[in-house]
């Protein structure tokens, strides 16, 4: 998609709004224990903030913010965080994904709360990276030029 002309209003508004979207996305991720939200919604909102910058400022400038080749390793890292949380619980004597056995806090309920937070972060990272990666592949990677 070649861009015809830089519109200063569009670029200014998108650059101003994008950090607030990211801030609200982080609120949604980390406040998911007490209000509607969670990893999937927060990760999608983070990806929406990155995609807004990519749409308005073009591909070359937005590479400074989030490089295209980081997307697949970050997605793998998110899935591995989820899987590793389950595996730690398995190694310390419980079942797979039984967060009560992760040796972090004293009480079992506290441990489960922290385990839920860990996997929400993993889900958020994976979803964010994968959606940005799909956008990049659709825009840049197809055959005709």
């Amino acid at each position: 998609m070649e861009r015809k002309k830089d519109n200063p209003i569009v670029s200014l508004v998108s650059r101003t709004v994008s950090p607030f979207i990211m801030l609200f996305a982080l609120y949604v991720i980390f406040h998911g224990h007490y209000s509607p939200g969670g990893g999937f919604q927060g990760g999608t909102m983070l990806a929406a903030a990155f995609i807004l910058i990519r749409l308005s400022l073009g591909m070359e400038i937005s590479q400074l913010q989030f490089k295209s080749r980081w997307a697949t390793p970050l997605g793998s890292a998110g899935v591995l965080i989820y899987f590793g949380t389950g595996l730690v619980a398995l190694l310390f004597g419980g079942n797979f994904l039984d967060y009560g056995f992760i040796p972090i806090a004293e009480a079992v309920a506290e441990r489960r709360s922290i385990g839920i937070l860990c996997i929400e972060i993993g889900v958020a990272i994976a979803v964010m990276a994968i959606i940005v990666s799909i956008y990049d592949d659709l825009l840049e990677g197809s055959s005709d030029d």
Binding site: M1, G37, G38, M45, A48, Y135, L138, L139
Partner: protein
Amino acid sequence: MNWEIEIVLFVCLLIAAFVSLYVKNLLTAVITLSVFSFFTALIYVAMGAIDVGFTEAVVGAGVTGVLLIITIYRTSRRSSD
């Protein structure tokens, strides 16, 4: 209860669905599909499923529209049927 709100939302949902089916311009179809997703999210919230409504609003009305518009720009603009 709140059945009046839901009737209005359902009528808007049907209108958005029919417009996105029968319009020729594909960009308009994508935008009306986003409107359809947003009314679905409002219906979920009115039914009390706030998490599902949140997900639908973020994914269906936000990211899916962007991805479909990019796909349309990579291919052709007009529908053939």
